[in-house]
């Protein structure tokens, strides 16, 4: 391979740091610039770092989180996509934590006010999340269905398929593994928990992959093989649903009214995230291990708290960007 061809190959590889829309717009000319820069400064090591950092920034900007201001509808769609991502991370970790506590309550009620208040507050917030999810999904499903009916659904097929398959796998798999675990759905004391046994079991099974057992492979190998396969495949299925949903909201042409409603629901969701985080923090700090260590906290719970806080910050930041985008449009 000649030096010129090698430079072009390297430039094209670097271009992959940027999001697809950016590559389509600037890719060709950017590669030309990189090739000439390689020729001018063949030994400059800062170029790769600069391009990788800029590519990352372009990806974050494309998600509406920073950088150049998008127009108001595009910013609102970017905010919704960022909200879906941050909420998915928050809920996966939060539900894993909550299901562990609610299952513990089926065995024995907590013996400290900290844990009791935390579990009740978290359960209320989970109900709020469920109501918000239904309210938010309704207009999106309606808009996507209308786009398909009017044969105006270009680019929506694959994301819809991702969402459908991802959700189907999560629901069917969680039902299967939730029912199969003797400590939850079929538990003789499932009536004495504050959350229905089936709901607790489903939540536990859906978030089975969030566990510290990954740090103890020998213990993990003792698990039934199908369960380990589920622990590996369920995050992929959730990822499919999240990526598909984010792509859908970026591509669907929502009306201004629907966008306003979705952003409003996003704000309520951010408030709910804050409440959940406070409750989880209360359990971590003031809960205590409880009877038979049922409510004990571990490193994974502290890690989850930090990750949930990061998710909340991202959600709030993206909502602020949506507001500033709207203000910019009103000013013009």
């Amino acid at each position: 391979m000649t030096r010129g061809a090698s430079s072009r190959h390297h430039a094209e590889r670097l271009l992959r740091c940027y999001p697809r829309a950016w590559r389509e717009r600037y890719g060709e000319e950017f590669v030309e610039l990189l090739v000439e820069d390689f020729a001018d400064r063949p030994r400059w090591s800062g170029r790769t770092c600069n391009v990788v950092a800029s590519g990352l920034l372009a990806r974050i900007s494309g998600a509406g989180l920073t950088g150049a201001a998008l127009d108001a509808p595009d910013q609102a769609r970017a905010t919704l996509a960022a909200l879906i991502g941050s909420l998915a991370m928050f809920l996966a970790l939060g539900i894993a934590m909550w299901s562990q506590l609610t299952i513990g309550w089926q065995w024995s009620a907590p013996d400290t006010p900290g844990t009791t208040i935390a579990v009740i507050a978290m359960s209320v917030v989970v109900v709020i999340f469920a109501v918000l999810a239904v309210c938010a999904a309704g207009p999106v499903i309606w808009t996507v269905a209308r786009a398909f009916l009017h044969k105006n659904a270009g680019g929506l097929g694959r994301p819809s398929l991702l969402v459908g398959v991802g959700l189907a796998v999560v629901i069917v798999g969680s039902r299967h593994f939730g029912n199969g675990w003797p400590g939850t759905g079929g538990h003789p004391w499932s009536h004495q928990g504050m959350v229905p046994g089936g709901v607790a079991a489903f939540s536990w099974a859906a978030t089975l992959s969030i566990t510290s057992y990954w740090m103890h492979p020998s213990a993990l190998l003792a698990f039934p093989r199908t369960e380990v396969v589920w622990m590996l495949s369920s995050p992929l299925a959730m990822g499919m649903a999240v990526v598909g949903s984010a792509k859908l909201v970026r591509r669907v042409q929502f009306s201004a009214r629907v966008l306003r409603i979705e952003i409003l629901l996003g704000r309520v969701a951010a408030l709910a995230m804050s409440l959940f985080l406070v409750a989880a923090g209360l359990w971590t700090l003031k809960g205590g291990p409880g009877p038979r260590g049922l409510f004990d906290t571990g490193s994974i719970d502290r890690f989850a708290l930090v990750a949930m806080a990061v998710a909340l910050v991202v959600a709030v930041h993206s909502l602020r960007r949506a507001r500033s985008g709207r203000r910019t449009q009103l000013a013009h």
Binding site: F30, V31, E32, L34, D37
Partner: protein
């Protein structure tokens, strides 16, 4: 559109554009260099890099150059010139010209104040 109306529109666009340049944060420097380079005619990425290096002594890294270019284009301060070449040139828009002038005037005022104070207080040292 009458010439008067055209000028008025340009002025309004420029005022908005000047405000937009203030939101560039750490890209305000590269953006000013790019606008200054395009002030004497359209240039593609590599030509911009060499020109800026010549008049400012700064070599903009490729990622930084294109980050600033995409923001400037998004704010309609510059626009791509149609070209069959893979190296697409960019030119200054009317709004970009007004924004650059206002930005440089503001910088000149600051430079004048600083130089004046230096002349008064540090002339003998």
């Amino acid at each position: 559109m009458t010439p008067v109306a055209r000028n008025r529109e340009t002025a309004e666009t420029g005022a908005d554009a000047a405000a937009a340049l203030g939101t560039f944060g750490r890209y305000a420097g590269p953006a000013t260099l790019i606008l200054s380079s395009l002030a004497d005619g359209a240039k593609h990425g590599y030509a911009l890099t060499k020109d800026i290096e010549k008049f400012a002594g700064i070599r903009l890294a490729p990622g930084t150059l294109y980050e600033a270019l995409s923001r400037l284009e998004g704010q309609k301060l510059i626009e791509a010139v149609p070209s069959d070449d893979r190296k697409r040139p960019y030119k200054l828009t009317a709004g970009g010209a007004v924004a650059l002038r206002e930005h440089l005037n503001a910088q000149r005022q600051m430079a004048d104040v600083g130089l004046g104070r230096l002349a008064r207080s540090w002339a003998t040292s």
